[in-house]
Symmetry: C3
Subunit: 410 residues, 3 copies
């Protein structure tokens, strides 16, 4: 049986409107297939331009076993390469991040420019054609300070994503931000389990006591009382009066989650701006600001900018800080998550912001989610697991995620 036929038969076991069958979380053949069809074929969020400010600055990461390095080259361009030598494959940069003048392979000192050209390979015979031995280049797109890379030789069009994301993200000015904190997690769950968790707030009420106080995500469908509707309308009215930045529209004016992804139209990117609850200026533990205003914001009343791209990125940006989650598959049952906190580039730790005020809100929320993901994964291990129905009221986005996912496979 060809692998395509095999995948089609697997997909046929899925029942519309229900969770995915067990094999989708346990089958190694499918996992390898996903790597090819999704992870090596999409735009992958890598990090922020402010992480590679100067020529030679780099950071590294790994998609399953594919080692990647993102670097700012000698012409101020952000570039991305497979982080391996073209001689015998040795890992070039071992550090998470750093700065260098050129890529020098530690094994035999093959030397590549910051633009990936092989400039020296002393010890090789003379008729070596250096021009054929440059680093393997990845496609890169920059959008409002976000760096996306693609391992595909012919990635999908990026422009539609840019057109949607740019006006929404512009005011936050990620390119004038700096990293305040990074926390890396290993989640013992398939990457899809993590997305499924992210795509519904049905679980929030009990599991995210901090988060639900600040947001209206849980108020959808039959959940919404008149009192809540009034609270939401008041927040909307109060917020918009004060807004005067580029792209200052509340795109999502209801409770609940904005619809994403749009499986039927293969749309893998989205942005929305929502209001915060009364008393909340920022997604922090007490709702107070935890850092100086970012970007074009002139006051705190800007709600929350939310960005997402599949298969690996979401972001919540308050007036004063931005929190980003980047997912990377590290095995069939292992997902690496990096959470990045950004603040204004001029903000000084200790005086302008305190880490113990900045990070707890999303650190707690993230860790609450990872625990749920691991527990879900453990249960799905059971051979008795049968996919249950998804709530049409609270899990429409999870259903959309599954439909998007299946469209990528077939």
């Amino acid at each position: 049986m060809s692998s395509t036929t095999y995948i089609k038969e697997l997909v046929a076991t899925h029942r519309q409107g229900y969770a995915l069958p067990r094999a989708f979380y346990h089958d190694r053949v499918l996992y390898e297939y996903e790597l090819g069809k999704i992870w090596r074929n999409s735009w992958i969020f890598a990090g922020f331009t402010c992480q590679v400010q100067k020529s030679g600055d780099f950071f590294t990461f790994t998609i399953d076993t594919d080692a990647i390095v993102v670097i700012r080259d000698g012409e101020e361009q952000v570039r991305a390469f497979h982080n391996i030598c073209t001689h015998r494959g040795t890992l070039l940069c071992q550090e998470d991040e750093g700065s260098m003048r050129a890529f020098v392979c530690p094994y035999h000192q093959w030397t590549f420019s910051l633009g990936g050209d092989l400039v020296s390979c002393i010890g090789m015979h003379e008729d070596i054609d250096k021009s054929e031995l440059g680093l393997h280049t990845l496609h890169v797109e920059i959008c409002e300070g976000l760096i996306f890379v693609s391992l595909s030789p012919s990635p999908p069009a990026f422009e539609p994503a840019r057109e949607l994301l740019t006006p929404m993200a512009k005011a936050q000015k990620f390119e004038e931000a700096k990293v305040a904190c990074i926390i890396d997690y290993e989640i013992l769950a398939n990457w899809k389990v993590v997305w499924e968790n992210n795509r519904e707030c049905y679980h929030c009420n009990v599991n995210h006591p901090q988060y639900i106080k600040s947001n209206f995500d849980i108020y959808e469908g039959n959940n919404v009382s008149t009192r809540i509707q009034e609270r939401l309308q008041k927040s909307l009215a109060r917020s918009e009066v004060a807004w005067d930045f580029e792209g200052s529209t509340i795109s999502h004016r209801e409770g609940g989650l904005a619809a994403f992804p749009d499986a039927d139209n293969d749309i893998w990117y989205s942005a929305s701006r929502t209001v915060l609850s009364e008393g909340y200026e920022s997604e922090s533990m007490d709702g107070k600001r935890v850092a100086p205003l970012m970007g074009e914001y002139k006051n705190a009343s800007v709600g929350v900018l939310r960005l997402r791209t599949l298969p690996n990125f979401w972001n919540h940006s308050s007036c004063d800080h931005a929190v980003t989650t980047r997912l990377l598959p590290a095995g069939l049952h292992l997902t690496k998550a990096r959470v990045i906190w950004l603040v204004h580039e001029d903000a000084q730790v200790g005086t302008d912001y305190q880490l113990d005020k900045l990070t707890p809100f999303w650190q707690l929320t993230s860790e609450q989610d990872w625990e749920l993901c691991e527990r879900a994964q453990r249960g799905i291990h059971s051979t008795a697991y049968r996919p249950g129905p998804l709530s049409k009221i609270r899990e429409y986005n999870l259903d959309a995620f599954i439909r998007w996912y299946i469209r990528q496979l077939v």
Copy 2:
């Protein structure tokens, strides 16, 4: 090649009267096949009714990756369920044991009665049929306080087992016992290696210095001197004079192990009562009693009740305490063993019994066995391993185990 054909070809490599070939301990396809044909098709010993005394009391365990929960429901019935939510498969109970009023899934608060019915799933759309979304139920049989479960929709008949076990086990009154101690082990060996170890006492003489002093198991076939025969006869005579409880017969009057299993008749359950050596009232380090008398016993001279069921249970019960071993496969090369010490429910630790007197005898004996099992498994890893002949005198039960096992496969 179909998996049935594959298994048949594997079985054909086994030579009657010899140990099993290497593939039986290393082949993942076979291991998965065993899980289906044996572990998800048999009666599995789970624990004791005294572990779930009150409504809502539960304990959990895992057969390979199948999470199970045993609980006493609102009508005082012992029930067993797959320990996963019928919504998206999340593990329901994470603890080893505890007590609850209802199953509440931590993810989205779907709530199930103690009898497994879905009673609440707020947030789901209206036309959900709750009656189809109850927990996945397992068959349960209780026999003299022992709880057996089966993952099979149509498990084998339990009544023959009950008919044999009940009269033998009755006097011990497990249902009026309590747990004094539980020790959990992870044995780096295939589950069959652990059974093979259990089914012969050929290894006892050197490896179990404590055990052999108290029992006549090692005296079989050509091993038995006249002096030993006399000792055995004396113990038999002395014991029976004093016996006056229900089922008080010595069923196994010779040295050596009682025959088990009966492969030719597919009999997977057995019980016997044996005498102890002179000076032994209990299977303890010095032979003295280590707890108050259990069940219907009026004096200590009751020998040892022994129970076994395949594929995962054996028990040695003295006049004053009962020691049970429960095996569970946790991987091709990993077996989880739980050893449970029971005493009379009224016995008080510190006054009526001391753990350091109660547990050493079987803790030592068990750990001696696990070490042998791991060493056997390591050797069988060698590609040079060829199954050797089994002793007709000392390994007849091991041979019977192998024949029973193969009958389950084909």
Copy 3:
């Protein structure tokens, strides 16, 4: 597809003069195939006769999962056996090394003579044929104190290796040495990565600052200045004047590595003697002697004897000590390396030699190599890895290794 066809198709993906494709370092089918075609079919270096000086002395090791024991028997012969009982496969000797009077299986006390004969199996039925149940014997060859074993029933001819190695190795007198130190390593790399590292000194210049001072290995092809040539000639001239031991010829009179293996003629063994740089009497940190003279040497000016056999042995012997590396595969991505330091058998630690003078030179060099190997392996994990060209000047031996390797497979 048969496994032979599969391997042939894999081999066809290799391009002459280039590194091996990714699958050669990641494919489990190929790894198993290598175990059969190479590791269970070749002469494997096990250790030294001086490690089993007295009758009953033994040491153990494992080739993938095959447990081996080497022992000196009652007739002073060095023997090798599969380290498993012929009854039920239990590992016989669990220790790395030791001494015993007979093999006694800990499980059921089956007892084998030091020559591997089953001498006792009390408890077995009478018609057991003990002569058929001796330990599984390996072929053994001793050559100048080096012990080689083969798991093959019909190993390749050893005599050509002996003819070449004996005259070169004789003067070192390994059989009159003793072990001064053993360090065991686990390298997270396929065994071929370790050999590829060993077969070129292209990486030495930057990575082995200690090693390159003492040797002329890096001076090959376009790398060699007139000044270096003069230094080499001076060392050659100075050395040879002083040499008066058996086999005292400098076999390798150029810079760079001696050619090995000879893939076209299936030659898996080699020996050479090279000179050391001026100021170096021994491969030590400061070039000074670190132990009393070994073997037939009458002064320190003997250069370095170098021995190698595929698939698992290399040795550098100075006038005063000998350093041996033994490789063993322990998994697709795991290689065990043992480094053994020998000195004259009469040398006393503390007075005649100090471990902190003896071991650093090769301990550092080895550990530098293992780190490079692990880094190479990590990079090769990338699906973007494409084998690069091998230097005709600096990697001719690596190319020869690959050609030798492929000849073994097909």
